[in-house]
Symmetry: none
Subunit: 217 residues, 2 copies
DNA sequence: CATCCACGGCCAGAATACGAATCATAAGAA
DNA sequence: TTCTTATGATTCGTATTCTGGCCGTGGATG
């Protein structure tokens, strides 16, 4: 069951979110201010948070700071003409935003998109002799768990989600680290190297000279 | 990887474009005025350009003149009530336009549409007995992979995307290497030669004396 | 037929990309 | 706190690819 937290101080909106998402098969909890939201996030775990920017008490941006550490994807809700807010939100690590008033179908499409990108819709990925559980973030080979670090896992998942595709170093950097690729360092190579080794994918992930890396079938 | 250039002098908008497109899997670069855009277009190659009309310095229309020569599709960004601009833009060869403020989903839909019309979303290209997979960047003949270097691949793809068209050496240089064609070297001939050989296209790619090269059907 | 110039083929040095090892710092657990 | 682990910058070595120069060939032009 996928759990979603909807944070909005306007009760009718929050209720609308809860009902729409509930109908679509998600388990949705509501919070009506920043404090309540923070408490819930502390106490429970969610797969996705829908966050209104304008909140009494702690506002959405402050809450974002808090949420970011938990790595839970956030879609935030903004008023029609608050472009600056949207940018600020995306900068702060939000996955997407929805402009109020929103269409319920659009909402569902975006929720699904974000969940898919985070691998929360499909919980088991089998590839290259490995089994990746995207919910528990565990990777196993023949039932034995691989002790992967955070970056290694992210990398592994990126390749697993794009088998056969050449991923350039800048793409990899943007997807795993975020931000612009710093040409001068060898960070990406280094981590690919470590991940390959742990995953036993030394022959599977191959460098494509001058282009990037590819996970072969 | 599909590369998009977003030209807009309003930083928040440009940033919004970059983040949204980036999240959708495109590689997006920003320029904040006409000069910067022109320089980038000169230096790199893009698959699509998003162009704001109102720009300081060189405006969007002037830039359009410049871009048209490069054959890169353009989507205009216009203000809500600038109907005349829209018409002018389409007349000048823009592929589509988007009215600001725009919805990100709409933007993505239009971007996808334009890319599809230009065959840039196509991942499998079959020509001259070869099959080119632009995602895995692999070229196969009868199922056997051709070991191409980066420049060879870029060249092959350029010809494959322009069958029957005479490509001048300076055009080829600009598209594959970027920057101005250095008359004094034989780099282009050399690489075409190698590529032809590996691809088995010795009789397919023919020199057009004094003009360039053409891939014959 | 003679001349000019574009193009093909080849080579070696230059440039670049990648892998491995090492070290310093940051983040996290005990 | 202290210890451990994770992360990322740096350096070096090697393999691969790129490039410029030279020469030969052959088409274009008169």
């Amino acid at each position: 069951m996928i759990r979603i937290l909807a944070v909005d101080d306007e009760r009718p909106i929050a209720e609308l979110l809860r009902l729409s998402l509930g109908r679509a098969g998600y388990q949705c909890t509501c919070a009506y201010d920043g404090i309540e939201a923070a408490n819930l996030i502390e106490k429970e775990t969610f797969d996705l948070i829908l966050l209104d920017i304008m909140l009494p008490g702690i506002d959405g941006f402050e809450l974002m700071d808090y949420i970011r550490a938990t790595n839970v994807p956030v879609i935030f809700l903004t008023a029609k003409n608050a472009v600056a807010d949207r940018v600020k939100g995306l900068r702060m690590g939000a996955e997407d935003y929805i402009i109020k008033p929103f269409d319920v179908l659009e909402l569902l499409a975006r929720v699904e998109g974000v969940l898919r990108r985070h691998g929360k819709l499909q919980t088991l990925l089998q590839i290259g002799g490995l089994e990746i559980n995207t919910l528990s973030m565990q990777v196993t080979r023949d039932g034995a768990e691989l002790p992967l670090t955070r970056k290694e896992y992210d990398l592994l998942l990126l390749f697993a989600q794009n088998p056969g595709v050449v991923l350039s170093k800048s793409t990899i950097y943007e997807r795993v680290w975020g931000g612009e690729y710093p040409e001068s360092t060898r960070t990406v190579e280094l981590h690919i190297q470590r991940m390959k080794k742990k995953a036993g994918w030394d022959d599977r992930i191959k460098p494509v000279y001058g282009m990037g890396y590819r996970l072969e079938g």
